[in-house]
Subunit: 218 residues, 2 copies
């Protein structure tokens, strides 16, 4: 095994985790408990260890820092600008995931002093190059909106069509016509009625769930 003479790097993962609170898209952030950028907000993440894949690392770090477990995790991009981490020679691979409801309690773990779900349209200043990473993630997410079922991962198991529409509007950052959205859903026939309804102040809204038969998606 000769890696002799190779220049070595620390490898990190950074996670862009979005959730939808019924009204706004939110992003999971941690307040850094150690230098560099101690006390500032950053994406959750951490260092890769020997013998694990980047994806395993991402899941492990997220669990340790925030207690959040997730199903699907997509690789976004590697970030390697020299100097992006003041500790030097750290290359980071960013991952993107969506979670259902922000009630996955963001409890601070080891490395992170504090964790919180912040509205993506009102983010604090972020450490490192994390603002760039977040913007790339939002674009990636919006690009996949209508071609995968990814966005439904933002919704609870059963949801109303109005909730789904709002989630799509927040991801695409554009208003959507109610009737067109519903006929598109019908044409795609990715949803099943549950027979139940959500009762509120006004007329009850039917609850739907994703039709599992065709979930494979991309």
């Amino acid at each position: 095994m000769d890696l002799a003479g190779r220049q070595l790097f620390a490898l990190a993962t950074d996670l862009v985790i979005f959730a939808f609170d019924g009204d706004a898209l939110r992003l999971l952030l941690v307040r850094r408990g150690k230098p560099p950028f101690r006390g500032e907000w950053a994406l959750p993440g951490g260092f890769l260890e020997h013998g694990e894949t980047l994806e395993e690392c991402a899941r492990r770090e997220l669990r340790e820092e925030t207690g959040v477990e997730l199903r699907r995790l997509d690789q976004l991009s590697a970030f390697s600008t020299p100097g992006r981490d003041p500790r030097g020679n750290v290359v980071s691979i960013a991952y993107l995931a969506l979670v259902r409801a922000s009630n996955v309690l963001a409890t601070a773990g080891s490395d992170a002093a504090e964790a919180a779900w912040r509205e993506v349209d009102a983010l604090p200043k972020l450490a490192f190059d994390h603002a760039d990473i977040v913007e790339m993630a939002r674009r990636r997410l919006a690009d996949a909106l209508y071609t995968t079922t990814a966005a439904f991962d933002l919704l609870p198991d059963s949801f109303t069509l109005a909730e789904a529409q709002t989630a799509f509007e927040r991801v695409s950052r554009a208003p959507i016509d109610k009737r067109n959205f519903r006929s598109w859903l019908h044409k795609e026939s990715r949803l099943r009625e549950t027979g139940l309804a959500r009762r509120g102040q006004h007329r009850p809204a039917k609850l739907y769930r994703l039709d599992q038969d065709q979930e494979p998606a991309q």
Copy 2:
């Protein structure tokens, strides 16, 4: 600067470089001059050095190994399965690029014993997990075919519509209707007539070039 205690890795880039010879899509391969996998075919690439970005590394390695220079280079994905490199603890970031004509001479440089353009549909067995990387690259390329101008990077500065169609067919791995392809090009109006024609055995074919005005694309 404390990276103390961090487990370190060698970082490599692997390049998937496609060219179009007028008939088939071809992939740039090098025959490895050193272990591991000495003598086997592999993607060009090499190790990241301190102070450079991954993209800079990819360009440098390609230049050194094959003399090929390229404009645009897209990051594909990071590959981190433990054991993917027998030297251990090597994470690789794959890049994708397209070059005009395969007459960019693939001359072997330092690390590579030999370089060659091989038809993508008749590739030899590849070292490491490079076959997986190539397949991901082909899918990525096909996905972007009709939404970016990327595929025109495969063509010479001026080209006939038949040449463009063949390139699109090879990338998408599907036959394309001639009239539909041409009316799509017209609708997109990304091409400009040069006024010249390519003379051959039969009726001369008009030569076109990409309209620079709207090249930004994605």
